[in-house]
Every structure is written in structure tokens, then in C-alpha cells.
Symmetry: C2
Subunit: 214 residues, 2 copies
């Protein structure tokens, strides 16, 4: 594919109301992936659009054909991360007993965050860099995400698997248990599956850690 900048006289970026080509989408995806790597390695503050362009052997002017700012890249990274996780959670939310479903959600959340703490450090700590409308869209997705946890907690309360009364608080506490791992997990030394087991055992006892919810 060509990496030529957009023709003069046209605003950079994909023209509105035009279906993007497969090539465009593929390159766009590559850019988001490369940006995630750059921000993981250098941190969001130090990573630059130049670094992203260099990682893909693109000129910076060509990069601007796809994205307009570092903040937009940040948004795209997290939209992709959260959309993928919501899909996973929706699958987990319809399988097994209430206890197994809750175990599956918690295990998934620990795995997601603890296997990529540096990426989630960007997600959880760099939110103030998002534009207002991007922040609002991520907040909507997070509300849906939290809702899936609240539903699973309600079902587990209904089946007597957990003894908590306030399912909203319980869901936030379970997410916290998993999310906080970005602050302490060392991917070179810690074992993510053992951490996920510990989380499930803490909340559901020893019987709900089996492979069927993995």
C-alpha cells in the first residue's frame, strides 16, 4: 500500500461518509498496535508520534493521514481493549452456574490487567489526557462493563454463592481487586494464573477455581 500523504487542499484523515478501504483499516490497526507498544515501553508521556511512525517505518506526515494526535491514539488503544474485554465478558456471562460465571469474570479481569500492567498503567492513569467526548465514550463502555459484573454478582447472591448485600459495591470491589494488580504485578516474576486462582478462592472458596471457567 502507499503511504503518501493526503492530497493538498484536503483535511488530513479519512474523509467522512466514505467507507474506509480494507488497506486503510489494516494500516490503521497496525498503527494502534504499534502505539500501544510504544506507550507500554516508553510511557505515554515520553512516547511520541515520531516513535510510532518510526516503529512502522512510516513518515510522520503519513501517520497523520490515519490519526491526528497522541490523545486520539490513546483513545483508540483503549476503545479496542475495552471492546475486546466486553465481548469476552458477554460470552462468560452466559455460561455455567452463577458461581462459575462470577469466577470466570473475576479470572478474566485479573488475567487481562495482570498480564499487561504497563498498558493498564496508561489506561488507568492517563485518562485526563482524553478529550471530553472520548472520555464520555469510554465512560459509557465502562458503565456497561461494570453492569456485567453487577449482574453476575446479583446472580451469585441469588444462588447463595456469596453473602454480600450491595451488588454495586461488591462489583466495584471485585474489579478493584483485579485492577489494582497493575500497581504491583511484576510480569517477570509473578504468575498470572496463580493470582487469578487466589482472587477466585478469596471470593468463592476453593471449589470454584476449576478449569471449566478458565
Amino acid at each position: 500500500m502507499t503511504d503518501s500523504p493526503p492530497p493538498k487542499g484536503r483535511q488530513p484523515g479519512r474523509p467522512r461518509h466514505v467507507t474506509p478501504s480494507a488497506d486503510y483499516l489494516k494500516r490503521h490497526e497496525e498503527i494502534v498496535e504499534a502505539a500501544a507498544k510504544v506507550f507500554q515501553e516508553k510511557g505515554y508521556g515520553s512516547g511520541s508520534l515520531d516513535d510510532v511512525a518510526a516503529a512502522l517505518d512510516l513518515r510522520k506526515a503519513s501517520l497523520y493521514y490515519y490519526v491526528h494526535s497522541k490523545a486520539e491514539l490513546l483513545y483508540l488503544i483503549f476503545e479496542r481493549a475495552i471492546d475486546g474485554a466486553i465481548e469476552d465478558l458477554e460470552q462468560l456471562a452466559i455460561s455455567g452456574s452463577p458461581a462459575e460465571r462470577l469466577a470466570g469474570l473475576l479470572r478474566h479481569q485479573v488475567r487481562t490487567v495482570a498480564s499487561n500492567p504497563s498498558l493498564f498503567a496508561v489506561f488507568f492513569d492517563q485518562r485526563p489526557h482524553l478529550e471530553d467526548d472520548q472520555e464520555a465514550r469510554i465512560r459509557d463502555k465502562e458503565r456497561r462493563y461494570l453492569g456485567l459484573f453487577v449482574d453476575a454478582v446479583d446472580a451469585a447472591i441469588g444462588s447463595g454463592s456469596i453473602a454480600v448485600e450491595n451488588s454495586h459495591y461488591a462489583a466495584q470491589l471485585l474489579l478493584g481487586m483485579a485492577n489494582w494488580s497493575y500497581k504491583w504485578v511484576d510480569p517477570d516474576h509473578d504468575d498470572v494464573e496463580t493470582i487469578a486462582d487466589a482472587a477466585v478462592r478469596l471470593v468463592l472458596g476453593s471449589s470454584k477455581t476449576g478449569g471449566d471457567v478458565r
Copy 2:
């Protein structure tokens, strides 16, 4: 007491190897308290030494007699917070059954963080602003703090109150459950005791939420 700046020719700040006076200590304490309020209200980034001086009706030159930088104030705030919490935890760690002790520690952690989320946002997110030696001292205290949780988890495993296998991971997960609350608790709308109850019930069931460990 006087607020005059230190005499010329002497480094600002308390001379080393001299026992500070009661007046000095009292004013020092007032400054740390005022700084905590300023950083809570304005955030660490926007709050300034000028704001701290203004809150106490001190001249900035006088403030420098007590502290040398915003980072030092940050360190002093957290040293005070963590020292106080360690004292509380050490008291809780010697009373009641293993399950009650663990419930007490978890409840204490939720109360501490959830009743002051804006202060803990500074603590958890502004750590990179600490000097290396300050960071090392806070890290030592945190290790002791985590150790108290690990000991309580080990005892609760021993008594069969929880079914987890890795007490180090379990302690980190419990701290995370509580600490993450700084990201979502709204002090105007959420009830800290209900959150603490939910945390204890999630981990220890309904029987360990009683008043004796409050």
C-alpha cells in the same frame, strides 16, 4: 511564635543534630496538615507552596524554614498517613480470632482510603514526584504494611476462614480491593461503612461483619 526567616548565611531548615523545639514541631505539623488540604482541594500538580503559606497566613520565606520543596511536603504527608495506619494495623493484628483480625484489617483499609479518595489519589498517583530516598523509605513502610496483611491472611488460612493458597497474592488482592476505591468512591454519595461491609462479606461471608471488629 515568630515566623522570621532563618538568619542569612545558614541553610534554611532545621539545623541537623539539634532537637527541635515544641513550637517548631507544632508549626511543622500545621504545615503538613495544611499541605494535605491544599493538595486534596487543588491536586498535587496545581497546589503550590504559595497556597500552603497562604492557608496558614505565613510568608513563603517563613515556610522554607520548615520545608524545602513540594516533594518534601508530599513525603511528609504520606509518612504521617502510613505511620498512623501501621499503628492502627498493629493494634488490630493482636485482637480477636484470625477471621476477625483479617476482617478488621480489611475494614480499616477500606475506611482509610474510601473516606479520603482525593488524598489517596495524590498518594497513589504522585509517587514519581518523590525523591529516591523518600521513595525508598515509603517503600520500606509499605513492605511492613503488606507484611501485616500477609500475616493476617496466613492466620485466616490456618483457621480455615479462607481457602486461598498464596498468602502474598491474597494480601495484595485484598489491599487492591480497598485501595482501588479511590478511583470510584464519591464521598458525597457513597457510604463508606456499607462499602467496608461489602468487602468483608465478599471475603469472609456474612458472619464476620459484626461490630466487634469495627
